[in-house]
């Protein structure tokens, strides 16, 4: 049975506390300093990680004898946001994942970030589970900055995900939880999957298998490694972005996560007022449609999909 602990608490103005809780599982016997943190809910509108946390907790409760190290589960970092369908930190309207590592001497969101880092520092590995936002649906993937690729790609390959996306370093991403933790020496993987405000059960179970496999391989669980899928590696191909050319209602022509040929129609942008079809979104390359718009209203520039195509 895990122990529920409060790792951060701040009084709210009227008879309530903002709090971050974790459930800690430890070996039945012996002491360990080895620790892994499973994190979700930095964005309050991303709920896929909550389900993974539940599934993992359920598994650990059923298999306490398999636990070889400390396993911390943090389902709800932005707890105010999760309980109010709010992506950012309510009241402040600040994206928590843009103010890490935070500070004790700054406003509330920065103090929350500081509290999160303090609670998790010392973990050997952290897995930060995000959904996409409410606009896009994503296949299970891990995103890694190029500078971290050597360390993190081998770990990501154990997570039973579909895609590992290694991207160029972007300075603004230095304000993320993952960057802060990687800088402190905690190998931190960012998982993106599903869509905001919804659950994708199958993805949850897929990632659970991956987390169990990673924990088996890295010595956190006394179980045999699971058979997991080898993710597609972004470095063997290219990502094409599909942005809306005009405003309207985006109506997809194919399902998410399908293979698509160059020149095929991904969807149409239509005008409900005039009844006209304004544009067809055409696949610029062949490959897998790993991102597809879930929220149909688009402006010019709105992302409607991404295709990954292998070179050659």
């Amino acid at each position: 049975m895990g122990v529920i602990e409060e790792v951060f608490s701040i009084d709210l103005p009227v008879g309530e506390q903002f709090r971050i809780q974790r459930c800690r599982y430890t070996p039945q016997s012996g002491e360990t300093k080895k620790r892994i943190s499973i994190v979700s809910g930095i964005h309050g509108d991303e709920l896929e990680g909550q389900y993974v946390c539940f599934l993992l907790g359920e598994w650990l409760r059923s298999n306490p004898e398999k636990i070889k190290a400390t396993i911390d589960i943090y389902p709800a970092i932005n707890s105010l946001g999760i309980d109010s369908i709010t992506r950012s930190v309510p009241f402040y309207d600040v994206d928590l994942n843009r103010i890490f590592p935070g500070s004790k001497n700054d406003f509330l969101p920065a103090q929350i970030a500081d509290g999160v880092v303090s609670a998790m520092s010392g973990s050997e590995i952290a897995i930060d589970i995000h959904s996409s936002n409410v606009f896009l649906r994503e296949i299970p993937q891990v995103r890694i900055a190029k500078s971290q690729a050597d360390t993190l790609v081998p770990l990501a390959n154990k997570l039973n995900i579909d895609f590992v996306w290694v991207h160029d370093a972007v300075t603004v991403l230095e304000s993320t939880f993952a960057h802060a933790m990687n800088t402190l020496g905690t190998k931190t993987l960012v998982v993106e999957m599903g869509v905001g405000m919804r659950l994708s059960k199958a993805y949850g179970h897929q990632l659970l298998d991956g987390i169990l496999n990673l924990m088996a391989c890295e010595g956190f669980l006394d179980i045999a490694p699971l058979e997991v899928r080898m993710p597609i590696q972004s470095e063997v191909g290219e990502v094409a972005y599909l942005n809306a050319s005009c405003p309207g209602l985006f109506v997809p022509a194919i399902e998410h996560c399908q293979m698509i040929q160059k020149g095929e129609i991904v969807g149409e942008i239509v005008d409900p007022l005039s009844g006209q079809t304004l544009d067809e979104v055409i696949a610029p390359i062949g490959g897998i449609l790993f991102t597809l718009r879930a929220y149909p209203i688009v402006y010019e520039g709105s992302l409607v999909g991404r295709i990954f195509g292998e070179n050659g």
């Binding site: 103005p13 008879g15 606009f135 300075t171 402006y299 520039g301």
Partner: protein
């Protein structure tokens, strides 16, 4: 005066987003300056100062006093202003986190790109900024150390304080940083409380903008001297945090000189009315910022006091 359209962006159902600029002295070969007003929907004070500046410059143009080229863009995110939102109403992204913009990217990246394109080539640039927290402040100049900053022109504003500091990662996607990198001597003037109009601060900022244009030969008028600006570095700021949450009652205004031991504010329990805390000044100095909401969170920053610590 010439009223120009900086960008016209269609919406699925709303009337198009029109961003307008006002140009004065277009034919002048003299020094040029651009002013940016409200980029967020809650930066009402910034809109007020910018539109007031347009009216002022129209009069000065009729009097033949304009000797340089001036662009004023009072409002960027009119969609947010018109519906009480802070950020881009659909995806809640902050236009001032999208610079230098990307013409092929997402909606707010495209808006930023188009805006940034219109701002190229100006000698000086001033961004009227609101706060990014729940505070209010004495008007001050924010000048980040991009390596291309120009402190002399910032001094010509004649404001009491210039906050001169290194940039944080998220500021690399903000306008001031990018404008500086592209060769404009850009700074921000931060003032007021979001969502409100403070006429005293607005008047002070208006005076500072006119002073800068006068000193830089853009306006042929005599302006009163302002302050010999104090350069404030991060170490000069003392942060006073609320130990308790509750109802916050400030006893001082921004800009007030306070003495060590002076009571600056009180916090009472929001339900029982019990007096929980007096917030006292730990140092002599000037209150530059204070919390501006009647309900305060535990550990929130209640006051910031500037003292000449780094000068000692």
């Amino acid at each position: 005066m010439k009223r120009i359209e900086i960008l016209n962006f269609k919406s699925p159902n709303r009337a198009p987003l029109k961003v307008e600029g006002f140009i004065f002295g277009e034919e002048s070969a003299g020094t040029s300056i651009a002013f940016i007003g409200s980029m967020s929907g809650d930066h009402i004070n910034q809109l007020y100062v910018a539109s007031g500046l347009v009216d002022y410059l129209r009069q000065k143009e009729e009097e033949g006093k304009i000797t340089g080229k001036i662009l004023v863009i009072p409002a960027i995110n009119t969609y947010a202003l018109n519906m009480g939102e802070t950020f881009w109403p659909l995806d809640k992204t902050d236009i001032n986190m999208m610079f230098p913009g990307y013409a092929q990217g997402e909606t707010t990246q495209r808006i930023a790109a188009k805006l940034f394109e219109s701002l190229q080539g100006y000698d000086y640039g001033v961004i009227l900024e609101g706060r990014r927290d729940q505070g209010m402040c004495l008007p001050y100049v924010k000048l980040i150390q991009s390596g291309y900053e120009d402190i002399d022109s910032a001094r010509d504003l004649g404001m009491r304080f210039i906050h001169f500091r290194p940039y944080s990662p998220i500021e690399t996607v903000m306008l001031q940083y990018n404008w500086q990198l592209w060769g404009t001597k850009a700074c921000s003037v931060v003032f007021g409380k979001n969502g409100t109009i403070d006429r005293v601060s607005s008047s002070e900022v208006h005076g500072a903008l006119v002073r800068l244009m006068s000193k830089r030969g853009i306006l042929d008028i005599s302006a009163f001297e302002g302050y010999a600006s104090n350069i404030i570095e991060p170490d000069d700021i003392t942060v006073l945090k609320a130990q308790c949450a509750g109802i916050f009652d400030s006893l001082v205004g921004c800009g007030v000189a306070v003495q060590k031991g002076e009571v600056l504010g009180r916090i009472t329990d929001a339900l029982s009315g019990e007096k929980l805390e007096n917030i006292t000044a730990p140092i002599d100095g000037v209150v530059t910022c204070q919390y501006a909401n009647p309900l305060i969170f535990q550990n929130s920053i209640a006051f910031r006091i500037a003292s000449a610590i780094s000068k000692r």
